[in-house]
């Protein structure tokens, strides 16, 4: 236990350093791009441009801007949006992260739940029609990109369901209601569920052939106990291994999904802030993403010892 605590502490420091490094690199790179967020084709006078740059401190030398930014970050203040004046970035990104996390968590449940279910069933019914159906479903699932699933989801559940049910049961794009979570979450999680299904099947097939599982069957234990307590726990280790990159994939995949479904999350912000050259938000988004990916991978590492007591830090 003590070792795990020390390990987690070290990783947290590493995450902080990595996040700071990523943010700094992005900060410098963004400021090298010619032009700024205020150039437009309207009647902007040099004085107006100068006033805008002065308000945001963009008229100062780059090192001074960087120090201002670092001081702000240490106080938890990521600054103000350059395009949507007055919008404070820290509360904005916290709120958008919670939105993305809600969708992401549901997507993860779809990924892990559906993936494990399909994988276990396929493994237990190997070489039967159940196995073939489950495996084919998985292949189809990871062959179709999430944005295609999203567009079909929008069309079927948003448009056609409205017509078929005469406006009583349908998906309403946007955000504000729990009913707006499942469709985008499934679109986001389904391709990854297919990966998990395939991996679980392979891992289960290997695990259930082990002597200790055969012994459990021979002892007359119920299928539920054999599968869940004896076989699945070990079969999950490879699945947990990919959970880190999988969560990263869900995080980055949310960029497309949130834009398609009109969800005001971090992914949507990522796209709009880059296109608008809203430097402050871009840096903030990269900072949040770096931290999220680091924490996701740390979470996976912490789960390992729970599954396999032989693993110790």
């Amino acid at each position: 236990m003590r070792g795990t605590v020390v390990y987690v502490g070290q990783r947290l420091i590493l995450i902080a350093v990595t996040t700071a490094l990523v943010s700094s690199i992005v900060f410098v790179l963004l400021h090298q791009i010619p032009g700024n967020a205020f150039l437009n084709e309207t009647r902007q006078s040099p004085e107006a441009l100068a006033a805008a740059l002065r308000h945001y401190g963009l008229d100062r030398p780059l090192p001074a801007q960087y120090l201002d930014w670092v001081r702000g970050v240490l106080r938890g203040n990521l600054g103000e949006s350059l395009v949507n004046r007055g919008v404070q970035i820290t509360p904005l990104l916290i709120r958008e992260t919670s939105v993305s996390a809600t969708v992401g968590l549901f997507a993860l449940l779809v990924t892990v739940g559906l993936g494990l279910l399909l994988g276990v069933i396929a493994a237990l019914r190997q070489n039967t029609w159940v196995d073939y159906v489950a495996s084919s479903t998985a292949v189809v699932g990871y062959s179709i990109p999430s944005f295609v699933i999203a567009i079909f989801g929008l069309l079927i559940f948003g448009h056609y369901f409205y017509i078929w049910t005469q406006g009583t049961v349908y998906y309403d794009p946007g955000w504000g209601d729990w009913t707006q979570v499942p469709v985008p979450a499934v679109a986001l999680g389904l391709p990854y569920a297919s990966y998990v299904a395939r991996l679980t099947r392979a891992s289960m097939l290997e695990t259930i052939r082990n002597d200790y599982v055969r012994t459990a069957w021979a002892k007359g234990l119920s299928a539920r106990i054999v599968v869940l307590r004896h076989a699945l726990r070990n079969a999950l280790i490879p699945v947990v291994t990919i959970l880190g990159p999988l969560i990263t994939g869900i995080i980055t995949g949310s960029v497309v999904i949130e834009n398609i479904f009109g969800i005001p999350g971090l992914g949507k912000e990522f796209v709009t802030s880059i296109l608008a050259r809203d430097y402050n938000i871009v840096i903030g988004v990269f900072t949040f993403y770096a931290a999220l990916v680091g924490l996701a991978n740390l979470t996976v590492d912490v789960i390992y010892p729970l599954l396999d007591p032989r693993i110790r830090y």
Binding site: S45, V87, L154, P264, E269
Partner: protein, 601 residues
């Protein structure tokens, strides 16, 4: 705008002759003689008539449920207008607003001395009538209505206007130059003063503005958003840069006020109770959602999640607008409103370093009289019908430009088919081109640059294709992100490029001063013509009714010299459900929210 509320009236109670009912009752009981039979018949008639009247009255009562209104326009109980926007509000502070999206929203929350009505006529808003202008054309005296109040009940006084205008000049938003003609503006803009010396309070409800030189266009600019009034008391107590962050302190004089805002997600407005101007119309609430994807917007619109799409300069995807425009039933929901924007081919007029304007670094093959045949050839070689069909969703997103650079419908427009270079004449184009560039050296490696949008790409691809087909020249298309494109274009960095201008107000000065005078800030072409400069100086000093012909003559000079290869004028698309009445707009603005109402559906 006053709305006459019609009281619901039922059909009047049928006047019953005395004894009718009793006689009818008797008739049913005593139908044994001819007299009785007649009475029976009369009685039956009475009963049927009464039943018919009763049924009619009941039907009328049922039909009239849910709100006031005439029998054919029953209002919905929920008078909430909802619509989407692709991106969030940029600026709320009138002194800093610049985007048409923000102006379209907040002209319902703030107001000023004057406003533009639906026909773009400048009419008094908070001002009491038109201003008095001194004989030298320098001093405008404004009188305010005395009953005007902010949404928090504070009275509006001359001090608030003087404060608001000085503040706008000091903050130097993009449109602070609205006050440039006012004496003392330069010092305030430079930070040397906080008050424009030209603004003087006369009494609580009147003040004057003195200009440094006559500027006939300035009165039009006074109706712009930069000149909207803000509550001095609120701004000073909450903070100059904070008062517009919390909806509770966004205080204006408009018919609506903001009640909630979740940045990058939604914004809500409600009508102002006891608004100083009387009725705020039928709508009670407005709900706006930020949805980046146009398909998601349309899906929600089609499931009645939105009242309309198109307010705040939103548009549909090309395939969706074509779908709606092609279907006779769906087309009823679509309105295509000419919008005050022109797109054209921009040419570089540089003749060498610092010539004819200081931003020039090299010489361009399209410059001056020597480059005129090339400009004409490129323009004549473009079939604008084809261009509009391909690049503008079969003419639903734009219409071809044939009357000069000022958009059709605005003052200064020259008239349909008055631009000789907008006619498609490939044989003449080829002849001109071959005389101008017989060896092909002038257009070798020519690149047409544009800021990256789907429409701009489609335009460039079509132009390149037509030039290849009609002139035999290869022009490459290069896209840039918006900021980099403007950065380079503003210093005349491209030989030919995409250019466009959306009018800020209906006055030709808005076009010439920023685009076609020497050293014009948004030129992109470094065009310089001393004759146009002089004509502009004279026209700007006069009121529009005296200067319009001069502006038109300037426009004609641009056309005659093919300074711009005018391609198309913009179109604003509105998709509106049948139960939403009053939605739409004029070339510059959406209709005020107070013009709208939601019917039962």
């Amino acid at each position: 705008m006053a709305i006459v509320r019609r009281r619901r009236t039922l059909a009047p109670e049928p006047s019953r002759e005395e004894g009718d009912g009793y006689r009818g009752g008797d008739a049913f009981l005593l139908a044994s003689s001819s007299r009785d039979a007649k009475e029976v018949t009369l009685g039956r008639t009475y009963v049927f008539r009464s039943l018919a009247i009763a049924v009619g009255a009941l039907s009328l009562a049922a039909a009239c449920g849910g709100g006031t209104g005439t029998q054919s326009e029953q209002l919905a109980t929920d008078q909430t207008l909802s619509f989407p926007m692709v991106d969030d509000i940029g600026d709320i502070d009138p002194a800093l607003e610049q985007a048409a999206v923000d102006v379209n929203l907040f002209r319902n929350v703030f107001s000023g001395l004057y406003k533009f009505d639906d026909q773009l006529n400048e009419v008094p808003d908070i001002a009491e009538g038109m201003p008095n202008l001194s004989s030298d054309g320098l001093t405008y005296t404004f009188k305010l209505k005395q009953n005007v109040k902010f949404s928090n009940g504070d009275p509006v006084k001359a001090d608030d206007f003087i404060y608001s205008w000085n503040r706008a000049a000091r903050l130097q938003g993009t449109y602070a130059t609205v006050f440039q003609p006012v004496a003392g503006y330069d010092d305030v803009a430079a930070g040397k003063a906080t008050q424009m010396t030209g603004l003087k309070k006369i009494d609580d409800f009147s003040f004057s503005a003195t200009l440094v030189a006559p500027a006939g266009y300035w009165f039009t600019e006074v109706a712009l958003w930069t000149a909207w009034v803000v509550d001095k008391k609120v701004v000073e107590s909450v903070g100059d840069s904070k008062w517009w962050i919390d909806p509770a302190t966004i205080i204006g004089t408009g018919q609506f006020k903001m009640t909630a805002r979740t940045p990058k997600q939604s914004a809500d407005f409600e009508s102002v109770p006891n608004w100083w101007g009387g009725s705020t119309g039928t709508l009670k609430k407005v709900h706006i959602e930020i949805v980046a994807d146009q398909k998601a917007q349309l899906t929600k619109y089609e499931s009645n999640g939105y009242s309309l799409i198109g307010f705040a300069n939103q548009s549909l995807t090309p395939e969706d607008v074509i779908r709606y425009n092609s279907d006779p039933q769906l087309k009823k929901q679509l309105t295509l409103q000419p919008a005050a924007r022109t797109n054209w081919i921009g040419y570089n007029f540089c003749e060498g370093k610092g010539q004819p304007v200081k931003a020039c670094t090299t010489s361009s093959v399209f410059a001056g009289d020597a480059g005129k045949p090339g400009r004409e050839a490129l323009s004549l070689a473009v079939d604008r019908d084809q261009l509009v069909d391909i690049a503008c969703s079969k003419g639903t997103a734009c219409v071809k430009a044939t009357g000069g650079v000022i958009t059709k419908g605005l003052k200064g427009y020259l008239g349909d088919n008055t631009d000789p270079w907008a006619k498609f004449d490939p044989s003449r184009a080829k002849q001109l081109y071959q005389q101008w560039d017989p060896t092909g050296s002038k257009v070798k490696n020519l690149v047409y640059t544009y800021n990256a949008t789907a429409q701009n790409k489609a335009v460039c691809d079509n132009l390149a294709s037509q030039w290849k087909q009609n002139l035999g020249i290869s022009v490459q298309c290069a896209s840039q992100d918006r900021a980099s494109f403007f950065n380079a274009r503003n210093v005349c960095g491209y030989p030919i490029f995409r250019h466009s201008w959306g009018a800020d107000y209906d006055h030709p000065q808005d076009w010439f001063d920023f685009l076609f005078l020497s050293d014009a800030g948004s030129s992109g072409s470094c065009y310089s013509n001393p004759q146009v400069d002089q004509m502009s100086k004279e026209a700007n000093a006069q009121p529009l009714d005296k200067s319009l012909d001069t502006y038109k003559a300037m426009n004609k000079i641009l056309v005659d010299n093919c300074v711009t290869g005018n391609l198309f004028y913009g179109v604003q698309q509105y998709l509106v459900h049948a139960y939403v009445k009053g939605a739409g707009g004029n070339p510059l603005y959406d209709n005020y929210w107070s013009d709208l109402k939601i019917l039962q559906h």
